[in-house]
């Protein structure tokens, strides 16, 4: 049972990661920075519960806020670059964050052993849940409550003007600007919101698995993050969820016996989906397939 709960935890965390990329994708920005924000959330909330013995909720909130603050800062220079250049710029950002976690040492002695982040050796013993008697089902519940809240917020966003504005910017920046939309506000706001969601996901991840290190935050994970909404499509939030379930739940877990064929299949799958459904998996459910504007 615990194992299936673990899979649900993974799916939940990856859904948050995917949704953080989703909101940026709505504005037409492909951001590989999400894994950087995820790392910031993971490390900062981990430091708070492990070293400062904070309660989990303020720690998660702080991690998410710190990540969104960095996202806010990244948002401004990111405005100057578009499209493929943004991809490269955000790869650079994520790699810088990863290298900082790689060099990040902050250890204190607790109950006779050293705990905290130890540079390349990673950040172990983020055991808030287990030492406070949470069982896995409670952790799963916590993660999925957050996932549900975030999904509901994004669902609602698509029903108010803000959502339409995000998509308008994604469709045609110039027309959006000429319709009175301030691109700076919209893009920086989307980046900040995306940073918040990714940071929250990072905090939950660190506590759910109890260990993080820089290898968790490589370009591979950044690619996973953007591949969820791209494979799932940006029609609505469920596409991302569907893609996460498909990749993490089915491809990675259910087909574990395929061993290293799984990553080969993952590569092949991306190629196939992009060739036959360039608007994402959700386009299966659409009757007509209106191509992207522009």
């Amino acid at each position: 049972m615990d194992y299936y709960l673990g899979v649900f935890q993974t799916i939940g965390v990856h859904t948050l990661l995917g949704l953080s990329a989703y909101i940026l994708l709505l504005t037409g920005q492909v951001s590989m920075a999400q894994i950087g924000f995820f790392a910031i959330g993971a490390y900062s909330s981990g430091v708070l519960t492990v070293i400062f013995s904070w309660n989990i909720y303020p720690a998660l909130a702080f991690g998410a806020l710190l990540a969104s603050f960095f996202a806010f800062l990244v948002g401004f220079p990111a405005l100057r670059v578009k499209g493929l250049m943004l991809v490269i710029a955000t790869i650079a950002f994520s790699e810088i964050v990863r290298l900082i976690t790689f060099n990040f040492v902050w250890m204190v002695e607790k109950d006779g052993i050293m705990v905290g982040a130890e540079g390349a050796q990673g950040f172990r013993e983020i055991r808030y849940f287990t030492t406070n008697g949470w069982d896995s089902s409670q952790v799963v519940l916590l993660i999925w409550i957050f996932v549900a809240i975030v999904m509901a917020m994004l669902w609602w966003l698509d029903r108010v003007k803000a959502g339409a504005v995000l998509r308008a910017v994604g469709n045609d920046e110039l027309a959006a600007q000429s319709s009175g939309i301030n691109l700076t506000t919209v893009k920086v706001a989307a980046m900040t919101a995306g940073g918040f969601i990714a940071g929250l996901g990072g905090g939950l991840y660190a506590h759910a698995v109890s260990y993080v290190d820089h290898i968790t935050f490589t370009i591979l994970m950044a690619t996973f993050a953007i591949s969820y909404p791209i494979l799932g499509g940006t029609k609505n939030v469920f596409g991302t969820l569907l893609a996460v379930i498909f990749i993490q739940g089915i491809l990675i877990e259910a087909f574990r016996f395929l061993e290293d064929w799984r990553l080969i299949i993952f590569g092949l799958l991306i190629i196939l989906v992009m060739n036959f459904m360039p608007d994402g998996l959700v386009s299966i459910f659409k009757k007509s397939n209106p191509g992207k504007g522009n």
């Binding site: 390349a120 050796q121 896995s136 260990y211 574990r256 016996f257």
Partner: protein, 418 residues
Amino acid sequence: MNKFIKGLAVSALAFSMSAGVALAEKTVLISGWGAQSGPLKSFGINSETILKAAVDKINADGGVKLKDGSMAKMVYEYYDSRCNAEEGIALARKTATTTNTLIAIGPTCSGVAAASFGVFQKKVDDAGDTGLQMPLFTNTAVRNGLAKISQWTFRNTPNEPDMYDKLFAWIAKTRPELKTVYGGTETDQGHSAGTYRIVIIPAAVRHGFEWSEGPIEGVTGKIGEGADNVQKASSNWLMADTSFSVQARAFKKSKADIFVISSHPFTTCGILKELARQKASPKLIVGLTSSSSAEVMKGCPKQAEGMIIPTSFAPVTPEAKAVADVAAANGASADLHSAAAWENVMIIKDVMETVGVSANGENLQADRRAIRDGLEALKTTAGLIGTVTRNQEEGEALKPYVFVHAKGGNWEVLHDPR
């Protein structure tokens, strides 16, 4: 494609079990996982090959004697954890909660071990701690001081502090003309860097060797002291690095008698080749335990000539030789990591027979606990090259070892302190 078919068979088996079809045979299940994909894939492949050979041997000899006196076959499942912490944790959870695994063997990467040991219950009988409760017995992940993370985790891995301590003592005695030391490590590999700064350099200092550029602040010879300064004073590289010009120059400039190269085979060969190119000629090179494997001899036998490494496995006894042959016959290689899988399986069999377990996962939780307690009770175990002493405070092993050096394309035993 073989693995594919086998995988299908395994999952079909699992399905039939879960569907309640009674199996004719009595079995005890052990699970293992390690990196079978990605750059460190050979660890997992070697381990599984030897694990399988050991299980086959046990079954050929009749199997495992159960509590009720009947015999059961030992079966195993092996999973790919991709040297990825998240995967390793998922596997620990999977085997602990969805299979009848009595005890698990793995993982291969220290990073995965450090991560996945954390999801186990820290102290047995702590009802407030909801961590996993299944014994785990590691054969490969070797970074210093991991098993104490949980009372459910044990290791049968070389004790590097002891080995390097003895190595430098031996060098000091047999090569008194060597005075100074310099080195470097791959900083993004937990094992290489950890062992280098916490174990190797302090051991060298302890036995009177001087850092070639003058003493490093805080390094007294005690394990772990001044570790950060050690790394800063050294010339390091990363696991995926391909250019070593700058580092090799620093080595050469140090003019040290002994070079310490603490990294896995890929970069060990890289730096050795660059040193040779720049004609840096130390009097001795000391390597990392994990480099005493076939890869270095495949990649750079010429440049590695003379490199000394302490290892807990070499085909110096008939048993060890037999295991090495079995591995070779199955296309894998027996080294200090994978050969320990053999020992682990044999120890597990003995413990199972001592404490008495039931077949097919009846009394699963009680049996797991009994095996854990049985493992903890062991003071010594039989190893392939001699008796292994166990430090059960920390769940670690004190394995016998030999010093090998590279000679003519092979690892040859240089000194055998057993």
